[in-house]
């Protein structure tokens, strides 16, 4: 970098330190430098698990424990998911730390999840000493090689002096543009080595353009299409939340009078009760927005990537519509759906610029179509889910009770499967960044550790984890973390004694051959109590309301198991390979 740029960086650092003296250095070890870098980046909490190759860093974490809170999860996968939960609810970078070898490989599922769901996470792994690299040393694994396809960036450090620059770059890359996970692998000798430390935040990487731009004509063309549309439909995704464009989106929706639907990761950006919020798109989304995707004349995609679970069969997806794609990642444009107009950039800026170009509109008749479809969906699906008359409990009525107690203010952390679809369909949201779930990767075991991270990042929020009996047992050991750290998360296990979503597919597409989906479950209440977590089990409808109310009123962690109907299915549904307009209601 040339002089000018680095001058600016130094100035920014001194400004943040409120000092006008020139940059000072201190002679410290690489491991102390790592902890100081984290503190410089504003990290207050990090999640991890100690082990041989990362011990020097843990020694420093001990010394700095008043400034930075390390949470020992019970498995490194839990550390990455907790870091994700932390990031998703707060918008800040989540941090996970682990040792070499198995510690590092255990992070991978969470890293892959963060990559596909664009979550800003920095993972730090210890590595064997540099002279041992490639020798198959104890707990040596090529974590940089292994993590390459699932990280936004990764790097191995073998010299202490490189630590500040590399970590500064890691935080910058994780958070900027389309966020994602970064892994930094640091050899043990670099952790011990002493050097002259100083810290400068990273403000740019010359080969990396985090926020691309489109020329003004793209916006003008988009506005022209929207203003001329008779049946416009907005589908927004997580890009709105990551770009903090909620207010801008709301203004666009209201001015244009445009029915607006969301992807699973876009949920909560606009309150569920907003009259122009027409629900979720995708495989188990709402009937209206899915079917009418194939009837709209202009489809306005904002910060979403046309995932196959959203589009169904691409050959019959919105073929009649002009497609406008607001997107920060140029590689997403035309990847799955060809855009007639692509507006590159941050959703917040793009939508703010779009707003004055829009003419005020109402589209009353078009909006009524969504209402009609919603009424049909109520009649066929929703009423039976939320107000069941059969004996067995439904997942939907549990969500309804949670909504009643939370008034839509809770953050809902869901796992993967039927309960996840039900949670996303029925949870009410008044606040953005409140739907935390594993969307792209579909990682069972995500919710319990992610809820830990979410609650710690936003202790003032009510955080309710909704988990199936299958996924719960994938990371159930994190009850230990909740117990030790006294984290007041609410845990709801919707127990149908099945891997419900797989069972549903076996019923619909494999002639009810229930191969390895039935679960003989342990006494979940006893397990929770073993960790001194208040726990209750509900098997009857008349117990539900009170139990949910008791859970929600609890000031500490609370576990609630609800025995739900064993073989309920989630509808509506777009079967794999079918068109969005062929969504099944039953």
């Amino acid at each position: 970098m040339k002089k000018d740029a680095s001058q600016t960086e130094i100035e920014e650092v001194t400004l943040s330190d409120n000092q006008s003296e020139p940059k000072k250095t201190v002679r410290i070890s690489g491991s102390e430098a790592i902890v100081r870098c984290l503190i410089e980046e504003g990290v207050d909490i990090l999640y991890g698990y100690p082990g041989g190759a990362i011990m020097p860093v843990y020694d420093e974490l001990y010394k700095f424990r008043e400034k930075i809170h390390h949470v020992m999860t019970r498995h490194e996968q839990g550390a990455t998911h907790a870091a994700q939960g932390y990031a998703r609810i707060s918008g800040r970078v989540g941090v996970a730390i682990a040792t070499s070898g198995p510690g590092a490989t255990n992070l991978i599922t969470g890293i892959a999840d963060a990559q596909i769901d664009s979550t800003p996470v920095v993972c730090i792994t210890g590595q064997v000493a540099s002279h041992l690299l490639g020798s198959d040393a104890f707990q040596e694994t090529d974590i940089v090689g292994i993590s390459t396809p699932v990280t936004k960036w990764n790097h191995q450090v073998t010299k202490a002096a490189d630590i500040p620059k590399v970590l500064a770059k890691a935080f910058y890359i994780a958070k900027s543009g389309r966020p994602g996970p970064v892994l930094i692998d640091i050899t043990k000798d670099a952790q011990f080595e002493e050097f002259d430390f100083s810290y400068e935040k990273c403000t740019g990487v010359r080969s990396y353009r985090p926020v691309p731009t489109s020329d003004e004509s793209a916006l003008a063309n988009a506005a022209k299409l929207i203003n001329g549309a008779r049946k416009p439909l907005i589908v927004w995704g997580q890009g709105v939340i990551l770009g903090e464009a909620e207010a801008e989106l709301k203004a666009v929706i209201e001015k244009g009078g445009i029915p607006s639907a969301w992807t699973i990761l876009g949920a909560s950006a606009i309150p569920t009760t907003h009259p122009l919020n027409v629900g979720m798109v995708g495989m188990h989304g709402n009937y209206g927005p899915n079917v009418l995707t194939n009837e709209c004349d202009v489809l306005i995609a904002i910060g979403m990537r046309f995932d196959d679970r959203v589009t169904g069969n691409l050959n019959s997806y919105a073929k009649q519509a002009k497609v406008i794609h607001f997107e920060i990642d140029p590689a997403e444009v035309d990847k799955n759906v060809k855009a007639d107009v692509a507006v590159l950039g941050n959703a917040k800026e793009s939508l703010a610029k779009l707003l004055p170009l829009l003419t005020k509109n109402e589209h009353t008749d078009w909006h009524r179509r969504f209402k009609d479809f919603y009424d049909l969906e109520c009649e066929k699906v929703i009423n039976a889910d939320l107000h069941p008359t059969k004996e067995g409990l439904t997942m939907g009525e549990v969500l309804k009770e949670i909504n009643r107690c939370s008034n839509g203010d809770a953050a809902i952390v869901s796992d993967v499967g039927q309960h996840q679809m039900i949670a996303c369909r029925y949870a009410e949201f008044t606040t953005t960044k409140s739907n935390i779930t594993s969307g792209g990767l579909g990682t069972m075991g995500f919710a319990l550790p992610a809820a830990i991270g979410a609650k710690m990042a936003a202790p003032e929020r009510e955080v309710v984890a909704i988990i199936g009996d299958g996924g719960y047992q994938m990371t159930i050991q994190e009850l230990g973390t909740i117990f030790q750290q006294k984290i007041a998360v609410k845990i709801v296990v919707l127990n149908n004694e099945f891997l419900g979503m797989v069972r549903q597919w076996q019923q619909l597409f494999f002639e009810k051959r229930y191969a390895s989906t039935e679960m003989t479950n342990p006494d979940f209440v006893a397990i929770a109590k073993g960790y001194s977590i208040r726990a209750k089990k509900v098997t009857k409808r008349d117990e539900l309301k009170e139990a949910v109310a008791e859970m929600m009123a609890s000031k500490e962690a609370y576990f609630l198991e609800v025995r739900v109907e064993k073989e309920d299915n989630v509808f509506p549904m777009i079967p794999t390979g079918a068109s969005v307009s062929d969504m099944r209601l039953e």
Binding site: H155, S207, Y208
Partner: protein, 175 residues
């Protein structure tokens, strides 16, 4: 169905460990076989240049260029068809020396193909040839009849007919 063509991808990158892995993973993940790959320095100091030859449709190619460009340390990526570039490959043959002296035909092949004798000793001689793939294929076929002790060929390297504005872009970054 869109037609598959041979494309030459030129990628300008920072010179960092692991980038080759990151770029090749983009192809591997999509089950695409790389015809050839070459990495070297470029005209810009400290900037590497990858030349990758792949066969695919243009739609696929564009998506892959997007994925390559997205990598943090990739500065720019371009793709070109054969008629848009000047390209060469290089190869080396090791052949038993007695053939050179005993079989006149070998000498004719060397002369006609314009390949260069790098070294000759009692046991073997080495010839080198730079050219297009077809020329090297032909040479391989010609020598095969007499027995080749060793053969190696490089990946394609190419420069484009059009200007690649990489230096300008980097200058803009640095200002």
């Amino acid at each position: 169905m869109e037609e598959e063509r041979l494309y030459t991808v030129s990628v300008y990158t920072e010179n960092n460990i692991g980038l080759l892995n990151r770029i090749s993973a983009i192809f591997q993940r999509r089950h695409i076989n790389i015809e050839s790959i070459n990495s070297s320095i470029s005209e810009i100091p400290h900037v590497s240049r990858f030349t990758i030859v792949v066969k695919m449709t243009e739609t696929q190619m564009k998506k892959i260029i997007g994925q390559i460009t997205k990598q943090i340390e990739v500065i720019r990526a371009f793709y070109h068809t054969d008629d848009e570039i000047i390209y060469q490959e290089s190869c080396i043959f090791k052949i038993a020396s007695d053939l050179l002296f005993e079989d006149r035909q070998i000498q004719n092949i060397i002369k006609e193909s314009h390949c260069r004798i790098v070294t000759v000793n009692r046991e073997f001689f080495v010839v080198e040839k730079s050219g297009r793939k077809e020329e090297i294929d032909q040479l391989f076929k010609d020598f095969s009849a007499y027995g080749i002790m060793q053969f190696v060929r490089s990946g394609r390297i190419a420069v484009t007919k059009e200007k690649l504005k990489v230096s300008q872009m980097l200058n803009a970054f640095n200002q």
